[in-house]
């Protein structure tokens, strides 16, 4: 019975709507970015990032570079040391396991079709 319950414990798995961004990270020798969508929607309505900031509603579709972020575009519109931590904190965003493919991770009750 104990064994059964141990098996029933949640295994490893990302939170629903965690986004992995790894278009350039691996090539540049840094960890992929893990973007927690759920964390950000608590603070901002969709319209802010997917309107004002210009993020396309499709993972990987917006070409974001660190240069642009440092200039205050995309993530850098908030992550500037004023609204949220600044770009010097590389490891807080670049925090994924090396080699993870870009995509959105589903968790509970869906394995999700793979086109995101």
């Amino acid at each position: 019975m104990l064994g059964l319950l141990v098996c029933w414990a949640p295994g490893s798995g990302a939170e629903y709507a965690d986004v992995v961004l790894n278009k350039r990270s691996d090539k540049e020798g840094v960890r992929p970015v893990i973007y927690p969508h759920w964390f950000h929607r608590i603070r901002f309505q969709c319209r802010v990032c997917h309107g004002e900031l210009g993020f396309v509603m499709r993972v990987g579709a917006t070409d974001v570079t660190m240069d642009e972020i440092s200039q205050g575009r995309f993530c850098g519109a908030c992550h500037n040391g004023e609204i949220a931590w600044s770009v010097e904190n590389c490891d807080l965003c670049h925090s994924g396991k090396p080699g993870l493919p870009t995509g959105i991770k589903g968790g509970h009750q869906t394995t999700g079709p793979g086109l995101w």
């Binding site: 019975m1 104990l2 319950l5 141990v6 029933w8 414990a9 949640p10 490893s12 798995g13 990302a14 939170e15 629903y16 709507a17 965690d18 992995v20 960890r31 893990i34 927690p36 969508h37 759920w38 964390f39 929607r41 608590i42 603070r43 901002f44 309505q45 969709c46 319209r47 802010v48 997917h50 309107g51 004002e52 900031l53 509603m57 499709r58 993972v59 519109a77 908030c78 609204i83 490891d91 807080l92 965003c93 670049h94 925090s95 994924g96 396991k97 090396p98 993870l100 959105i104 991770k105 589903g106 968790g107 509970h108 009750q109 869906t110 999700g112 079709p113 086109l115 995101w116």
Partner: protein, 182 residues
């Protein structure tokens, strides 16, 4: 002959098992360090907020993030900003759209209100969806492939396993509503 274990031992085992199952049931969210995505050696797992800390405070749901995001917003549990700095005016449209009338599954009721409390009209119109009812060739197959409703549902909004949340109106009632008959 096998030696019989004492009832005390069995009771202890059962208590332990029930206690463990309670812990497991309460734990809906994984910790960052063991989520399979974050590098456990990264500074982030020590600094960033764990999902449970943020979402256990919000109205519960059974799927996705296990948070009822609409109730969280409408009930004032969260107050996400409408603009990067300060607030901006936005249009909340309180209009329901019935779709899939005459289909083999219950009709779809799309409520504009909860969608426009998060999104601008232009997030969906005229790109993902034409404003004219019936002008967009939506199919479940396309949705499951991440198109139309599937751009968000199955990715960041409640997952596509929750059929009845969209397919929520009996065909008979949908037809009556469209015809305007009681």
């Amino acid at each position: 002959m096998r030696k019989r274990t004492t009832p005390y031992f069995e009771c202890a085992l059962l208590t332990l098992a029930l206690g463990w199952s309670a812990v497991v049931m309460a734990q809906n969210w994984r910790k960052l360090e063991s989520d399979g995505l974050h590098d456990p050696g990264s500074e982030a797992v020590k600094v960033l907020q764990d999902p449970a800390e943020a979402m256990s405070q919000l109205p519960p749901d059974t799927a996705g993030n296990k948070v009822d995001w609409i109730r969280a917003l409408q009930g004032g549990y969260i107050k996400p900003r409408s603009a990067l700095r300060g607030e901006k005016e936005y249009e909340v449209l309180d209009g329901d759209v019935l779709m899939n009338i005459g289909g083999s599954t219950p009709a779809v009721l799309f409520p504009h209100k909860p969608h426009t409390q998060w999104l601008d009209c232009k997030n969906c119109h005229e790109g993902l969806f034409q404003s004219k009812a019936g002008a967009t060739p939506i199919t479940m197959e396309k949705i499951l492939q991440g198109e139309y409703c599937g751009v968000c549902h199955g990715a960041v909004a409640f997952p596509l396993t929750e059929c009845n949340r969209c397919h929520s109106v009996r065909q008979m009632d949908a037809i009556k509503r469209v015809r305007g008959t009681p």
